[in-house]
């Protein structure tokens, strides 16, 4: 099977062989290698803990967006009952964007949770491998000549090194993913904040970039439907409710 090997294993092998070059005495190499592995295991544990923290933060962001959805819906209703269909529409457009984002965020959080389980399982495996290395290094020290030991050491160290590098890569991927998710969730939160929905009157004057973008996102059909439903609801709420948005041609 000479010649086979992925790109990553080549990188790992290069690192490990550098490590092995540091000591000429096999016993010293083995002890140093083991010590290094134990050290690196701490980094792995920290990496997994970071992914867990990121996941919790994303869950909190998801809850905030959920609150925004409720808030925007309420504001749309208020705007409509005050005869401001334009504002109601803007609020509903934002609500649609937030809802879509929320769905995708929740799916991704679920995926992240299963990735996290896999990371934890692989960390356990790595720990077992390091433990196996510890046992093996004593056997190698006791049973092999220096020349023979070098081959055995190289194989064992590469085996552990590859396991570690692969887990490191998986942690990195999970972190990158949470980073990306956090950025997207943050953008949605900003949408709501930039919408100045705390002061409905501010929305009336001229559209900002976000408004135009939102309109383009074509929340269109869904917003129309919701608006119609809301109107019907408000309309049936009381006979003296004003008719909104019909242009008033009958009056």
């Amino acid at each position: 099977m000479a010649g086979l090997g992925g790109r990553m294993s080549t990188v790992v092998k290069a690192k490990i062989s550098k490590l092995l070059d540091r000591a000429e005495d096999p016993a010293e190499t083995l002890d140093y290698g083991y010590q290094k592995q134990v050290e690196l295991l701490q980094n792995v544990k920290k990496g997994i803990a970071d992914v867990t923290t990121s996941k919790k933060r994303l869950q909190m962001q998801s809850q905030k967006i959920e609150q925004s959805v409720v808030k925007l819906d309420t504001q749309a209703r208020q705007a409509l009952s005050q005869g401001r269909e334009d504002l109601a529409r803007a609020a509903l457009e934002r609500k649609t964007v937030a809802q879509t984002e929320l769905q995708s965020l929740d799916t991704q959080i679920e995926q992240l949770a299963s990735q996290q389980e896999q990371l934890t399982a692989n960390e356990k495996k790595l720990r077992a491998k390091i433990e196996a290395f510890r046992t093996k290094k004593e056997v190698i020290k006791a049973q092999y000549s220096a020349a023979e030991a070098q081959v055995k050491i190289s194989e064992a160290a590469n085996g552990v090194g590859e396991e570690m590098a692969d887990l490191g890569l998986a942690i990195q991927r999970a972190e990158d993913k949470t980073e990306e998710m956090r950025a997207r969730a943050g953008a949605v939160e900003e949408l709501e904040a930039a919408g100045t929905f705390d002061d409905l009157s501010q929305l009336g004057e001229g559209q900002d970039d976000i408004d135009r973008e939102l309109a383009q996102l074509g929340a269109g059909a869904q917003v129309d439907d919701e608006l119609a439903a809301m109107k019907a609801e408000l309309g049936s709420g009381g006979s003296d409710s004003p008719q909104i948005g019909d242009g008033g041609e009958s009056k």
Binding site: M1, G6, R7, S9, V12, Q118, A132, T135, K136, G161
Partner: protein, 92 residues
């Protein structure tokens, strides 16, 4: 032959699978070159399936480097495609 599915673990495959895996690898590279995402996805699924069907999971106490490392199962086409270039995962 030792094969790792990145993010999952290592498997021991009979050496007779090397040619089959290499063939799938070469075809996957060809699919990437012409931007055939569907074709690539199919070939990659076949590679994973071959490893799972014929492979025997390596024990936690066994310390061996892999001969071939397959990208993570949940890689995007772009991510996986970056690995399947030139001679592919398995140099010919």
């Amino acid at each position: 032959m030792i094969v790792r599915i990145s993010g999952e673990g290592q498997y021991r495959l009979p050496d007779t699978d090397a040619d089959r895996l290499n063939e799938l690898d070469n075809r996957a590279v060809a699919a990437v070159e012409v931007g055939d995402e569907t074709g690539f996805g199919d070939l990659w699924a076949q590679m994973l399936a071959l490893v799972e069907a014929d492979g025997e999971a390596i024990g936690d106490d066994e310390l061996v480097p892999s001969d071939v490392i397959l990208p993570p199962r949940d890689s995007s086409f772009a991510e996986a495609a970056a690995e399947f270039t030139g001679e592919g995962l398995i140099p010919d």
